[in-house]
């Protein structure tokens, strides 16, 4: 510990000296203090052990990846010289390896050079079996990572990877400094508090003080590669409270410059924005609020076989007419307007972006049509019983509809229940605390994997711009069941050999156009067979003070991705 603090002190002295030398630039830090508020406070500054976007964004001011996505979803080289492709020789012809080359002259904030050894170390750090690394999925199918020289790293895959850019790309997988983290590998990862709270990075800022679940204070990195940047000398990254008060502190009181993820009632947000101190910005990524349809029987009488393939098909949701009617009865535009305002738009696809992957084959559902929904049910033989609820062969259309506890979700539930009652479907609503619903506790009956209900609602999305892993969620082998400890992402228990075949084909197709065609086909298959009923394409909403310039809201990467370019309007 003693030695470490001496080293840190020495590093700080060097940093001070070099900042004095860099006096000719003078521009760095000219705009003083920047205040950012995240209503979910940052818990840790190591994205590999993080608890979500708040931590990843907080670390994005310090740590940087090889490449990242810009606000339009295009990949840009960041620490790497350029994006490796088959054309420039960076990706092998047979798609089994990729070679990244670091920019020349990169240094860490302590002044030491960034080398390929750091990149190799970071990959091995995450791929360590015992470390509990959260970004492990990004390192799937990697056979080895080796340094070719001081600046080049070759990643070899165990099979051809048509999309080789998953590892070390994007804010979730930045490069760590080997020197700092070398004793923090595997089982030691969680014990390295000082390292996890104050990583040394290449980014525009350095951590000065970190109070877990509260505040991070940063100062400008004097060794930042782009002279004159960042414009701000100090950043306070405050956490805590709720979305509405975060919005208020930017839009009404002007205490903060940037507020993140403002999931606030749209009318309230508009009122706050009317104060004229800040601007609300929104952008759309891949998040879709959807209804998952349980295709297996959740009847409690089945005991352990509840909601599994062995338990048999669902008594009425396996009827395509019922699923189509349920979908048609929903007014998605109203749901988007009521619940999300600027941050939501109606969608009929589970893949709503990037544009190249978006299908137009399912747009029937964009317009609510209760009469048609009724007609479909009539035609399928579901007739209203004495209580007004439709039934056929003794089966009543009675639905248990569950979701996580969240004001917007409960509003949506109430509206959907109303519409479904108009087509003779009875709905019982249930909401479960998010930590339980999305938690994987084997003993809890209320997890979204167990799906002991007929319909469940939540949002899912994919990182970056490649949907391959995401589309792979709905193959037969991903169905959660007691056999795989309910681990699996195929909540509807959808199983279609044709879909599985397409997923395999996608994994071996390289050309972007062909991949897009396959993804569209898979999306249409899921939509037309009604395994999911998409509702709202959800965007991100943030707000920034009118005096803050340079904000380019990015949903494909961290919102802090270009914080080096932010400045204060004169």
């Amino acid at each position: 510990m003693k030695l470490k603090s001496t080293l840190l002190g020495a590093a700080a002295a060097i940093a001070l000296a070099s900042s004095a030398l860099a006096g000719s630039h003078e521009a760095q830090g000219r705009d003083g203090q920047l205040n950012i508020i995240y209503w979910q406070a940052a818990s840790i500054l190591n994205p590999y052990l993080s608890g979500g976007n708040k931590d990843i964004d907080a670390s994005a001011l310090v740590l940087e990846p090889l490449a990242r996505y810009d606000e339009n979803g295009n990949m840009v080289a960041w620490l790497a010289e350029d994006i490796p492709t088959v054309e420039n020789g960076g990706v092998a012809e047979d798609l089994t390896s990729i070679t990244w080359t670091l920019k020349e002259g990169l240094v860490w904030s302590d002044g030491t050079p960034v080398t390929s050894a750091d990149v190799v170390f970071t990959a091995n750090y995450c791929m360590n079996e015992e470390g509990g690394c959260q970004q492990l999925a990004g390192f799937a199918d990697i056979g080895s990572v080796e340094a070719l020289d001081d600046r080049s790293v070759k990643i070899t895959f165990t099979k051809p990877k048509p999309f080789p850019y998953s590892a070390l790309v994007g804010s979730t997988m930045p490069i760590l400094q080997q020197e700092q983290f070398k004793d923090c590998v595997g089982v030691n990862a969680p014990n390295c508090t000082a390292e996890n709270f104050g990583p040394i990075g290449t980014g525009p800022f350095m951590v000065e003080e970190f109070k877990a679940n509260d505040t991070v204070v940063y100062v400008a990195n004097p060794n930042y590669r782009d002279g004159g940047k960042p414009a701000f000398g100090r950043v306070t990254f405050k956490g805590g409270g709720d979305a509405a008060s975060a919005a208020r502190s930017v839009l009404e009181t002007g205490e903060f410059d940037y507020a993140w993820n403002l999931q606030v009632d749209p009318t309230v947000l508009a009122q706050m924005a009317a104060a004229g101190k800040g601007t609300v910005v929104s952008a759309f990524g891949t998040g879709v609020e959807r209804l998952m349809v349980n295709l297996t029987n959740p009847d409690p009488a089945l005991g352990d076989k509840r909601s599994t393939l062995e338990g048999g098909p669902h008594p009425f949701l396996t009827d395509p007419a019922v699923r189509r009617a349920l979908s048609l009865a929903i007014d998605r535009n109203l749901l988007a307007e009521v619940g999300y305002g600027e941050a939501g738009k109606a969608t009929c696809n589970v893949v709503p972006a990037p544009a190249i992957y978006v299908s137009t084959a399912n747009d029937e559902c964009l317009v609510q049509d209760i009469a048609k929904a009724n007609a479909i049910l009539d035609e399928a033989g579901w007739m209203p019983g004495p209580d007004g609820i439709r039934q056929k062969d003794g089966v009543r259309l009675s639905i248990l509809y569950q979701t996580s506890t969240n004001a917007v979700r409960q509003d949506t539930q109430a509206l959907v229940k109303q519409w479904w009652s108009e087509i003779g479907v009875e709905t019982e609503l249930k909401n479960i605390d998010a930590a339980v619903f999305f938690g994987g506790d084997q003993s809890s009956p209320d997890t979204f994997q167990k799906f002991y209900a007929d319909i469940e609602m939540y949002t899912n999305l994919f990182d970056g711009t490649d949907p391959e892993a995401y589309m792979g969620s709905w193959v037969c082998s991903e169905i959660p069941s007691p056999a795989n400890n309910w681990l699996g992402s195929n909540m509807p228990r959808y199983c279609n050999p044709e879909y599985d075949a397409l997923a395999e084909k996608l994994a071996t197709t390289a050309a972007l156009e062909d991949r897009a065609a396959i993804v569209k086909q898979m999306n249409d298959m899921l939509m037309q067979e009604g395994a999911m009923i998409p509702l709202v394409h959800r965007g991100s909403v943030s707000a920034h003070a009118n005096s803050l310039e340079g904000v380019r809201l990015n949903v494909w990467d961290s919102q802090m991705w270009n914080v080096a370019d932010w400045s204060r309007a004169k």
Binding site: E209, S249, E255, A435, D441, Y458
Partner: protein
């Protein structure tokens, strides 16, 4: 008295051990999961690995004993080492109670948050008591007067208006409309000179007042009731008959006797100060102990919640003991031996 105190202290050891086990059991049975709040893009197999890396695959009793060892042996050793600057019993390998979410020692997190909690919640307790006692005394002395009615009204408001309403209300009035006070508490502010002291006072006023309203409501009611009990006693009539001044009768004879039960109530309320104010801290972003606890609960952070609630339990047990002893000191008629 000493005998009684020692007996009580000894008895509290099994009680606290039992409490710690019950807390652990409740947390273990609760369907909460530390990976529950992670982004859905993290696949289930990776979640399982994270759970294993947190040690969640071990049987329940193993995890409980591990926590006991970390909390009762390793943490005190660590405090000793930090205090003496030594390294006893190979301190490098000593495992402390570590939070699942921040991956840092829980005790350090608690220590980091103590200042703002003590400043804000503690100050509100003191302010509340200072306001409540005069209100209680005057209300009782002038029972059914306008002052008494107003005091009753204020305490009803204090009892019935929740801080998530009154907190936001004062923010809207004093931060948004008037712009007098900041709506967000700055925990990094260090008081070094007059300017920073003024800023500290400014940012404390709103949360302290919102919390003090609740304390005032409670204590002033106790004070009033206790004063009323005493005012009709024979000894008060005797004192007046002796020709003592009314102020002496009220403030020396009646007040002293009336304070006995109130002091116990105040002592029992002290642990709540250390527990923080979950809602008010959240509203003003004070980020003290209360906010730490609620984040721990939401994030399924069992070691954090376990340690915090256990520390609360210890404080409640000791506050009870102190209240009992104080009672004996203030009222010589009461003897425990």
């Amino acid at each position: 008295m000493l005998n009684y105190t020692l007996r009580r202290l000894m008895f509290s050891v099994p009680v606290l051990l039992f409490i710690s086990f019950i807390i652990f059991l409740i947390l273990d049975l609760a369907p909460s999961d530390p990976t529950g709040n992670l982004p859905l893009t993290i696949p289930p197999e990776v979640r399982e690995k994270i759970r294993t890396s947190l040690g969640l695959d071990a049987p329940m009793w193993v995890r409980y004993l591990l926590w006991c060892k970390q909390f009762f042996i390793n943490e005190p050793l660590n405090i000793w080492d930090q205090w003496r600057g030594t390294c006893s019993f190979n301190c490098e390998d000593r495992l402390r109670v570590v939070s699942y979410v921040t991956r840092s020692p829980v005790v350090d997190l608690i220590v980091e948050r103590m200042p703002q909690t003590l400043w804000v919640v503690g100050m509100s307790y003191v302010v509340g008591i200072l306001i409540a006692i005069p209100i209680g005394v005057i209300s009782a002395y002038k029972q059914y007067s306008v002052f008494d009615q107003a005091g009753t009204f204020i305490s009803m408001v204090g009892f019935s208006v929740p801080p998530f309403f009154s907190g936001v209300l004062v923010i809207v009035i004093f931060s948004v409309q008037l712009g007098w006070f900041p709506s967000i508490y700055d925990t990094t502010l260090e008081v070094v000179d007059w300017e920073t002291f003024k800023m500290q006072v400014k940012q404390m006023i709103m949360p302290v007042m919102v919390l003090a309203l609740q304390t005032t409501a409670q204590i002033s009611r106790f004070m009033r009731a206790s004063m009323l009990d005493n005012l009709n006693q024979d000894y008060v009539r005797t004192a007046r008959a002796k020709g003592l001044k009314e102020s002496v009768v009220l403030l020396v004879h009646v007040l002293r006797n009336s304070l006995i039960p109130v002091v116990t109530v105040i002592a029992l309320g002290v642990p709540a100060v250390f527990g923080g104010a979950i809602i008010t801290e959240q509203v003003f972003k004070v980020n003290g102990i209360g906010q730490l606890l609620i984040i721990g609960i939401q994030g399924g952070d069992a070691p954090l919640v376990q340690t915090l609630t256990f520390i609360f339990a210890v404080m409640i047990v000791f506050a009870n003991l102190i209240a009992d002893i104080l009672y004996g000191i203030l009222d010589p008629r009461i003897r425990y031996d």
